[in-house]
Subunit: 412 residues, 2 copies
């Protein structure tokens, strides 16, 4: 008899009928004898509705009051879910962040979980109840509600699984698991059965939305086995586990892409200490996140600085940099919105330095020019022209044989 | 500089625009130097929306989960209100029942307030903040949310005013105050400037909806001056105060009516001990509230028993009583749905035993027959045929000169 934490997202609890179906699903596991802890998000659309109300009051809503407001979304879900379980003949109790208690830090709208008391949950579990916990929220030492930000319910679920030493944390969503790439642009995309925490971290940070990156980091830190699966089928999804739980690591596990960035180049910057700070400080002061940065020295005295920013911040960044360029004596500032980032991820590439060059060759074979490259131990990302995105993803998926179940393996 | 508790009902905070207007109104008082505590209901329609969701899950929703669900309505209101105050340049903080803390008993959906901690509120007031508190809700010793039932936010406001020793508790609503009778059926109805707690208790129990009866009882017990007034005008409303605060008591302060009852008569019941219990026990076991009861002994051995029940329970009551009638050997059970209760209320009548007979004469002059009469120290209620309701109210209003400001007075 296992202790299982199950998290259902907004689309899974988007209507009273769907909540009823989820209750039946959880009850089925409960009747097998498992101890069940359920974490719910707000019903789909509800968080946006509340944000709309808030923005009608205050253009930039007060963060404390925003948390007070948004926390109601999950509260509604857990109350309705507990009713649904009871209507179906089961026993359930709903708990809010402060009732558990989930102790958060005081950073409103982007809090972190400091600790979780498990006594209250264990008490209810011992009485045979399905314990239903509002995701996304916790309480500070001063009794204020703070929320974890978008995707926070994933983090709540993994943190609860860690605190309870649960046997598994199952993340139910509207897709069947983690795929080798986006099935919408690559029909050969295949569901991955097992993936390592590190690979999942890279995929999540590169734009795969199936699992929140903070939740993956927490799962890795506490060794929580995470099962990403569909609410609407009984199919096994993707297990996110430690590397040693996977017998054979694939060279490349997944391919991601992002069309949400833009590229900026500052040409012919004097190559002196402090110049980079002069460029990037005003950017970060404006709250703009810089992703990839590449510096090419030209002749030992002058350099080009190229980097990417979120496309939505492109205009602001250009305005700031044109001002900075004058101050530091740069020749020009140029930019390009129409780029995409295509990345390959796999723990197997740790021992295969040749993977990056294989990727470059595959892209070259298709006539796709790379504008920037960035690598980590288990990832290679390339910036290319946006129009080649789908072609690049499909070519890489095909060349690395991700549609095949087990090949090519890392020959470790 | 006063400490004022202001409560705004659902229609007063029914949209973001209305919340903004209420915030401006409260800020105006705050800028005069008053310490402001604001109690809010859920936005109009929200509680019904949530009840609809609950009933879709469970025909009779679990009371604990119902409280968990409904409490979100007020939480949304207070968060939005605090944002509105801040948007208008003021300082505000929202607090939930458990954050205050308002300690409730554990009776879900119909809890009572046991006690209120004022330290948290005072702390925020000392920092110059408008303290905005979710009405209707509190927390039990076990950390569960319990709610006070419909009208509960009035009770929250008065209880807070009592605990804080506030100078006044202002109940803002969609009418201008307490009227001598319903202006919809009697255009001469006049707003009452001052009314005693006892009169207000009678009016509230007789169907005047402007102020929750529990709130009035609490105000009386703790001597909280209550000001019932309109959200949408600056007009002074009705002050509900202790009797000694009103120099001259009116003989009749107000006239109410109710069309929500039905009358049942059990004819020729043996006049024996225990018979009344045999009649009323099955009725109360069925959860039916009996209001007026009149027993007429016919010849020392037989009696008629007449009483009123809510019209919505009439059919159930008749079915039960037809069964009981056979068991106790009664002659017949008859009933009448088409009745109304018309009542006059006034502390002045304490010293004027003649008021009841004046009322009877006024009704007789209009050819209105009285079916039942019930009196208290400060109230006379008559059951009449429903079709005469408006005529009776207008005649009484006119005869007791309630459209005049100060006459007739009690000649004490």
């Amino acid at each position: 008899m296992a202790l299982i934490v199950q998290k259902f997202g907004g689309t899974s609890v988007g209507s009273t009928d769907k909540i009823m179906a989820v209750a039946q699903r959880v009850l089925a596991s409960h009747r097998l004898g498992h101890r069940m802890v359920v974490v719910l998000s707000a019903m789909s659309g509800e968080t946006d509705r509340l944000i709309g109300l808030a923005q009608a009051m205050q253009p930039i809503p007060d963060p404390r009051e925003m948390d007070m407001l948004l926390a109601t979304g999950e509260q509604v879900s857990v109350a309705l879910f507990a009713m649904a379980v009871k209507a179906a003949g089961g026993e359930a109790v709903s708990l809010l962040g402060d009732q558990v208690a989930i102790h958060n830090d005081p950073m409103h709208t982007r809090a972190r979980i400091d600790s979780i008391d498990t006594a209250c949950i264990q008490g209810h579990l011992n009485r045979g109840r399905i314990v239903t916990i509002a995701g996304f929220q916790g309480v500070t030492d001063h009794g204020d509600i703070t929320t974890l930000g978008r995707g926070g319910s994933d983090t709540t679920a993994v943190a609860l699984a860690a605190a309870l030493a649960a046997d598994a944390c199952e993340i139910f969503t509207d897709v069947e698991g983690v795929f080798t790439t986006d099935p919408n642009i690559c029909p050969q995309a295949r569901k991955i059965d097992r993936i390592t925490y590190d690979e999942m971290l890279e995929l999540a940070s590169l734009g795969a939305k199936v699992l929140d990156i903070r939740a993956v980091g927490l799962a890795k830190r506490f060794g929580v086995p995470v099962h990403v699966r569909s609410t609407f089928t009984d199919t096994i999804g993707t297990w996110v586990v430690e590397e040693d739980k996977i017998m054979e690591s694939l060279l490349v596990s997944g391919i991601t892409y992002s069309k949400k960035e833009a590229r900026i180049t500052i040409k012919t910057v004097p190559d002196q200490p402090g110049v980079a700070a002069k460029i990037f400080l005003p950017i970060s002061d404006a709250g703009i996140l810089v992703d990839m940065i590449i510096q090419n020295t030209r002749d030992g005295k002058l350099t080009d600085m190229t980097f990417t920013v979120p496309r939505t911040d492109y205009d602001r960044a250009m305005a700031i940099l044109k001002k900075v360029a004058g101050e530091i004596g740069a020749e020009a500032v140029t930019g390009d919105r129409d780029i995409a980032k295509v990345s390959i991820v796999g723990v197997g590439m740790r021992n295969h330095p040749g993977i990056a060059s294989t990727m470059f060759q595959i892209l070259a074979n298709e006539g796709i020019n790379m504008m920037m490259v960035s690598t980590s131990e288990i990832k290679v990302s390339c910036i290319i022209a946006e129009k080649y995105t789908e072609l690049a993803v499909r070519s890489l998926h095909d060349a690395f044989a991700l549609d095949k179940d087990n090949l090519p393996l890392e020959d470790a």
